[in-house]
Each structure stands twice: as C-alpha cells, then as structure tokens.
C-alpha cells in the first residue's frame, strides 16, 4: 500500500476530484493547508497599504491506494492539476505498513 500525497491549487480541487471519481480511487482525505515553494507570494492590500502574503492557500489530498493502483492515480492527479504555471504543486509517495477499517475491524490491503 502507498500513500499518495498531492499538493494542488485550491481552484483545481473540484476538477481533480471529478477526474479521480471517473478513473476510480479508494478514498481520499482533503486538507486545507498553506504552502510555500517556488511560487511568489500574493500581494494583498489593506487600507492603502500593500503587503506580501508568503504562504499561499493550497489543497493537500491524501489517498492510500493499493500498490498497483498508485501509478494511475498519480497520473490522473498530475494531469488534471497541471496548469503549467509555477505553483502547480507536487506529489509525494510514501509506503503504508497497515490499514484497518474501523467499521469492521478488518486489516490489510483489502480494506482499501
């Protein structure tokens, strides 16, 4: 089992989720984070004074998938989340040791 962790643009959430829906995925956790990478900060303004917001709102998606599905899911995300501009985000992959389904108490890859 792998965990796929993707940081994407806030505006892309709906599109990516719909693409995943179509191509199939086991489940997802979505977290609203703030990120900082290569993308320049956002200029905001308040009562005439400008300032730079260094941390930009981003979406983190986490999917725990069977090893064999990992590739396809990563592809789907990478494809739909892309705009080609700086700030598109990154996808990280981790290994998962075990999984438990709370409702039934089952363990292992089959709960995914």
């Amino acid at each position: 089992m792998k965990k796929i962790e993707a940081v994407i643009r806030v505006e892309k959430l709906e599109e990516v989720r719909e693409a995943l829906e179509k191509s199939g995925y086991p489940g997802i956790m979505i977290t609203r984070i703030e990120g900082h990478g290569k993308q320049k900060g956002l200029i905001q303004q308040f009562r005439g004074r400008e300032f730079k917001l260094e941390l930009l709102p981003k979406i983190k998606m986490e999917i725990v998938a069977k090893d064999e599905d990992t590739e396809k899911i990563i592809d789907t995300i990478a494809r739909t989340a892309k705009t080609g501009e700086v700030g598109d985000g990154k996808i990280f992959v981790y290994s998962v040791e075990d999984a438990i389904r709370v409702r039934t108490g089952e363990k292992g890859e089959k709960v995914i």
């Binding site: 806030v10 505006e11 959430l13 609203r32 905001q44 303004q45 308040f46």
Partner: protein, 457 residues
C-alpha cells in the same frame, strides 16, 4: 361652542398650511419662513427625516443579505458594491438625477431645472424632498448588486451605479412621482405606486434581471446537463441580520412615504407592512417545506422581503387582512420566481429578481384589486383609490397593469442596453480565474476573512 370655534380655526390653519407646505416659501434656507407659514411643519420634517434615515439604513440590510447569500471569497467585493452604489448614487442623484425626477415636467417624460441643488433650491422644503428621493433612488440602485453578484467587474458596477441614479431611475420615477405620463393615465386615479413597488423595486429587480442575463450564470451554477445546482451563501447569520435590518428600514420606506405626519394613516401603513412581511415569510417557509421537508431559512428570508416589496405599493390603500393576503401571494411569487428563473438558466445569486422584480409587479397589481377607498393620492381627502374587489371597477387595475408593464420593460431594456454596451467596450465579467478565486483579492486586494480558514467552492 367657543371652544369648538377656536378648534375649527386651528384646524383650518393646519390644513391650509399643510396645503402650502410643499413648495410654499421656496428658497428659505433658514427655515424660519416655512415654519411661520406652517407651524405644524416640524412634526412632518421629523417624520420624513427619521423615516428617511431608516430607508438609508436599508443599505447595510441589502449588504448583509447579499453577502450572507454569497460566498466568502466575494464578501469584500459585495461590501464595496453596496457601499459604492450608495456613494455614487448620492452624488449622481445630487448632480442631475433629482432634477430629472422632480424638476419642471417636460412632455410628461422628464423634469428640467437647475442641477446640483442650485438655482433657488436652497430651501429647507426642497432639501427635505431631495433627501427623501435620494434614499429611494439609492435603494433601487443597490438591489442590482445581488443579481449580478460574484462575477460583475467592479468598474462596470461603478458605471452602472452612475447610470441608474443619473437617469434610469429618475426618468421612470418622474413618470409616476414627478407628474409624468403614468401618473396622468386616464384610468382609476392614474397609475398609483404608494412607496415604490414599481418605481424602486421593479426597476431595481428588472435591471438586475438584465444584468444577470447579460452576464450569464456563475461558474458551477448549472451542471453540464443544465440542471441548477445550489451555491451556498457563507453566512446565514449575516443574511438573517440583513433581512431584519431591511424589515426595520421598511418601516421608514412605507409609512414615511406619506411625506406627512398629519396623515394618521401612517399607523395603518405600518401594520400592513408588518403583516405582509410575516405572511410572505410564512408562505415561503411552508411551500419549500412541503417540497423538501426542510425548514428553509434562506427562502423564508426571501419571503420576508417578498412580502415587504409587494405591500410597498398598496400599503396605504388596503386594510390588514388584505395585507396578509398580499403577503401570502408574495411568498408564493418569490418561490415560483426563484425556481422558474433557475429553470430558465438565469442565475440570480440572492433572488433579487424574484423578490424585487416580480413582487414589485405583484404589488402594483394588488393596488388595483384591494384598494378599499380609505386613502387618496397621498391625501386624506377624496378622491380615494378603489380597486376591483371594492367596487372600483377595472379602471385602477388597468392603470396598474400599464404602469407595471412600463416599469418592467423600461428597466429591463435600459439595463440590458447598458450592460451590453459596457460589455462590448471593455467586458463586464471578470476572468474565469478571478471568478474561481473570488473577486476580493484580484479586484480589491483585500480578502474578507484573512484570519479564518475558508474553503473555496
């Protein structure tokens, strides 16, 4: 007997001076001459001003309802629009709008005279009238922001605000309230619109409809198959606060429209206003409950406003039970309107068209049905307005239908031209990226809630 005599003289004095009060002693900036001519004027001035303040206070009511019904990412933009339409409206109406509305009538079409409140208009009575007309004009202006919310460019909104307060509103207003042709229709007592179901609300609502159509729906409002989807507002508490503020402000709007505290009829108007609002909310809540088995507060709030808009034209001419009926129908109209517009693919984020446009029309019509012959044309003396159900025949109803149709067409056509011309010249809709991100940061630089974690839907 002696007492009785004195009393009659006193009465005569009062009535006489009231008759004169409107324009008598023009150019009395100090107010001393006006007071001398009409010692009873202070209570009228107090009444009109306090009611006018309440009407002005409807501005934050609209602001809160609209922002509450829209998403957090556009909240700053909605504040900006609701603020600046009042700002631009005030200045535009001052510059020329007031003259067009209330100046010397030309061909029954518009008023003429000096602009900027200059040229003999420096007079306490004139200023009083200006203040009253101004807050009404600004109310019409602010209605539109809801219908075009979450996608109209701010610069286009500034121009629209100028246009409505400079001529769209004043010209129609002149037809009804400035001695123009609608007020002189040879049916019933001419077209009657006590506090502006038509002049303010139909005008605002139908310009809004034009804007909503010209802009097209928000991204995500309709599925690919055309099925409407709900886009939730970001604060039911602010929306409810706004509706309550509007309800409160409407007690200035309607009763204050006597422009005269000596019309004790103001108490009837207050009661009617309240009952219609309650009935509208009740009906809207019940209908949606029957359909979805949920107690839909958003629609009930729209129902309050629907009842208020509908009773605005007839409030002075009907009795309490009729106000309840008018309100119940208004609740029905707003629900049907909201569902109907969605079916037609029109996206009106806050329901402004159904609330103000459609119920403005219903309010105008209801005068022709329920007017019961107890109040005249802003007068407590005969002739009194009488509708179909009270033996007045169809005359008044016809006058109402003509006025309603005129208001709807005038506002829609002028609005449509306005938005389409602007669109052709510089594009009135923000870019898709800006719409997705919300207008607050690209247009204003300022997110509404920077300390909170918000979702972007």
């Amino acid at each position: 007997m002696k007492l009785k005599g004195k009393r009659l003289i006193l009465m005569a004095l009062v009535i006489l001076s009231l008759g004169l009060s409107a324009l008598a002693f023009a150019q009395d900036p100090t107010g001393a001459k006006t007071l001398e001519a009409n010692p009873q004027a202070p209570v009228d001035y107090v009444w009109v001003l306090v009611c006018g303040f309440l009407v002005m206070f409807m501005q934050p009511g609209f602001a809160m309802v609209e922002t509450g019904f829209c998403r957090a990412k556009n909240a700053t933009n909605l504040m900006a629009k609701n603020l600046m339409d009042f700002v631009i409206g005030s200045l535009g109406f001052f510059i020329i709008g007031y003259t067009i509305l209330k100046g010397a009538d030309k061909f029954g079409l518009f008023g003429t005279g000096p602009f900027f409140l200059l040229g003999g208009q420096y007079d306490v009575g004139k200023y009083l009238d200006f203040f009253w007309q101004l807050v009404f004009c600004a109310t019409a202006a602010t209605i539109v922001s809801g219908a075009v919310a979450e996608r109209l460019k701010f610069s286009a909104y500034l121009i629209y605000s100028a246009a409505i307060s400079l001529f769209i509103y004043p010209i129609y207003g002149h037809w009804v309230w400035g001695g123009g042709w609608l007020s002189q229709l040879p049916f019933g007592m001419g077209h009657l619109d006590f506090a502006g179901s038509g002049v303010v609300h139909t005008i605002g609502g139908m310009v809004g409809l034009a804007g909503a159509i010209a802009l097209g729906p928000r991204f995500g409002k309709f599925a690919k198959d055309g099925k409407p989807k709900a886009i939730l507002g970001h604060s039911m508490t602010l929306a409810a606060l706004g509706a309550f503020i509007l309800w409160f402000g409407w007690f200035g709007f309607n009763p204050g429209s006597t422009f005269n505290a000596h019309h004790l009829r103001i108490s009837v108007i207050a009661v009617n206003t309240n009952l219609a609002a309650a009935a509208g909310a009740f009906m809207a809540l019940i209908i949606v409950f029957l359909k979805t088995k949920k107690w839909d507060v958003g629609m009930a709030l729209n129902g309050v406003l629907a009842g208020l808009v509908a009773i605005t034209a007839p409030c002075a001419w009907v009795e309490a039970w009729a106000a309840v009926v008018i309100g119940l129908v208004a609740g029905l109209v707003v629900v049907l309107g909201v569902y109907g517009l969605e079916r037609l693919g029109v996206d009106d984020p806050v329901g402004a068209v159904s609330v103000h446009g459609f119920n403005g029309i219903w309010g105008l019509i209801s005068v022709g049905l329920f007017a019961d012959g107890t109040y005249g044309n802003y007068a407590t003396t005969e002739p009194f307005a009488r509708g179909l159900f009270y033996g007045g025949g169809a005359g008044q109803l016809i006058a109402q239908l003509i006025g309603a149709a005129t208001a709807a067409i005038w506002a829609f056509v002028m609005g449509y031209i306005l938005f389409k011309v602007m669109d052709a010249i510089f594009g009135i809709r923000v870019s898709p990226e800006e719409e997705l991100k919300g207008l607050d940061i690209p247009e204003h630089g300022t997110p509404a809630y920077p300390d909170f974690y918000t979702m972007n839907k």
